[in-house]
Symmetry: none
DNA sequence: AATGAATGAGGCTTCATTCAT
DNA sequence: TATGAATGAAGCCTCATTCAT
């Protein structure tokens, strides 16, 4: 989905821009600052990217490419549904700590007033995630693993909602703070990962009507 | 002396500002535009609000006050836990259609490097929601309504995550679009409300290990 | 020279405005602030004074009226020239401590960018001071008190320059600071008044070629 | 890259700003106007100077540096005290005609609630002038040129007061007008310079108790 | 082609002045 | 008539974009 970025310089610009857009939002980020932090001239930014919107969209593409990769990792596990889900949650915990900027940027993208172009890009990813989940749940239902009573599509939606919020809780200041308010101060610390994961698995196993 | 702003006009400023901040974010919103749309001069805005941040905080307070009111409505029901939850979901569906701007603004708030003033306001609301949910779940556990196996705090968190995402799905363009991708085109239409609600109740009942 | 100010309210406005103009200059002073500090509405200010410039001019008139009064006090002494001068210097020291705002305002008036109207007002005062000094010096020359060698007009000018700078040194922050730099830290303290005065008398007596 | 501002252009900004600040004061001067008159964009001004205050301070520094240079010129004379003083007065007359804006700006500086930055700069200049004069007078006393009876510090102060007022009379509209009132219409005309100078020398020689 | 200084439109905020009550 | 809230032009400053080198 993303245009392969062949150019190192281009990559560096995007990596830097992701940090800035993630932190300050589209309007709050500053092209001149991005250039400076990326160690390039504003000129080259405007050589590669028509304008701020285009750069933003490129950042979104870059982030999504990364996030897409996560699915592949989770699928590698090849286990059953519950194993896949646990795998996925563990990955979220891990990756959100390594690259919180991707998830922050994603959150930024979801607010109003963002370039239209970027939204289209996201649709693609959401669609493929939606399809993946739906297929998983359909298969699980056929295999008798989860209750026949669930609507695969909307349960996919509810499930992904939970995953997204977990992402945010591990990456974005506001949601991390909220996490603390709900669960106590140190819950995002690494040692609590297992607890967070297992409770979520319980929640989901119950919701899906299957064993965990 | 010239007639002071009527309460209506003052409310109009806040209401207009909420719309603009909700739509364009803190940085993207434009005070002069807000004044124009509210039908007042820039001057009065700066009479009632020290600066842009203060206006933003006032908007946030207004929105949260409204959202807080929802809890009271849901509690009026007086029924058991499941009834309360269903009530709450129904309210979300209803209110998010009436005042999507409140939920958009809330989302904006969570992405912005928030003014300190707003931060405190939000903490209070989140805390009271967190406490309410936890107490509900504790009581429900004691009454034997939901599984003893759930950790009340983190389940409150997961639950509220789902509620928030429902809010967003009913109010914010991006999440509405995402809803459609997962569940099909017309899912936010009013006629599907019951389906959305019932499936969510199934999801939650399962998660909490209780009957629905 | 000054229109007799019959109205108490008007007086209060002017007194307050003098402080503000003296402190912040014409552009830096704020009509709304003046109204507030004077305990009146902006409305009455604009009733009595066409605009900011007119108010400023009224303040200048007020200050000059006061400063004019000083001459009369000094002349009351009825002594010889040197006594008059010493009297005058003592008055400067005294009055500048009681009403520094008048001298600050005067200083403000002398910078560029002030309302034209006010400058005209000042001319009158300067003229009368100039005439007074010249007459004094002429008489003193005729009486053989001061050297025939002095040009009365320009010596009046030099003399008044010294008086003005003394005013400023006793009233205006910058010149007070400068005073300290030249003469040491505590020179503007009351206990040093006599020293300042006597040295100035020596300076002048020498300049005028007369005894002191 | 676009050609950076030439030194000439940079100087032009400062020179223009000095004129504007000198004429309208700190508050009355207008950055956009300065940019326009200097033939540059507002942007560059803010590239070289953080803000209005910083630009103002730069102007003050520039002016003071120039004024400082005057001392060196006067000292070059190498003559005795009276020759130095006459030299200095002549220089004031000359320079104030060439660059009245510097002295106007200085006057503006003394009325404004000065930026801290400027304050320090000024202190230095005043201090070095104060020291120079004091040393001159001390030496002159030791050499028996001027009366032992003078306090070197305060006489330095009185003397510099006269010099400053001369500056103002030759540079600043108000003081020029005042000069005319005291001495007759055409006194600032070049042909009267010698008269002004000689009378001042008489005044000073008398004050210092030495021959001229 | 890459640089990065310059540009200038546009946003936040102030405050002299107006005017409805 | 006095009030003081409202008005809105104008000033400071930022930053997306341009363009000379």
């Amino acid at each position: 989905m993303q245009k392969p970025l062949t150019d190192d310089q281009k990559q560096k610009i995007i990596r830097t821009a992701i940090f800035e857009f993630a932190e300050y939002g589209f309007n709050g980020a500053n092209i001149n600052m991005i250039a400076e932090k990326a160690g390039v001239s504003v000129g080259v930014i405007y050589k590669y990217f028509t304008d701020k919107e285009t750069l933003f969209t490129a950042c979104v593409k870059g982030s999504l490419a990364y996030m897409d990769g996560m699915f592949d990792k989770a699928e590698e596990g090849e286990g059953n549904l519950m194993e896949f889900l646990e795998q996925l949650i563990a990955l979220v915990q891990q990756e959100a700590r390594v690259h919180p900027e991707y998830y922050k940027l994603y959150l930024q993208l979801t607010v109003s007033g963002m370039p239209k172009q970027s939204k289209e890009v996201v649709s693609l990813v959401e669609s493929s995630a939606a399809r993946l989940y739906r297929d998983l749940f359909l298969k699980a239902k056929n295999d008798g693993l989860i209750s026949k009573d669930v609507d695969s599509r909307i349960f996919s939606f509810y499930f992904d909602n939970m995953i997204m919020m977990l992402h945010f809780a591990y990456s974005c200041d506001y949601y991390e703070e909220r996490f603390k308010i709900y669960c106590g101060r140190e819950i995002t610390s690494e040692e609590k990962d297992e607890f967070v994961r297992e409770e979520m698995m319980k929640f989901l196993a119950g919701a899906f009507g299957c064993n965990y």
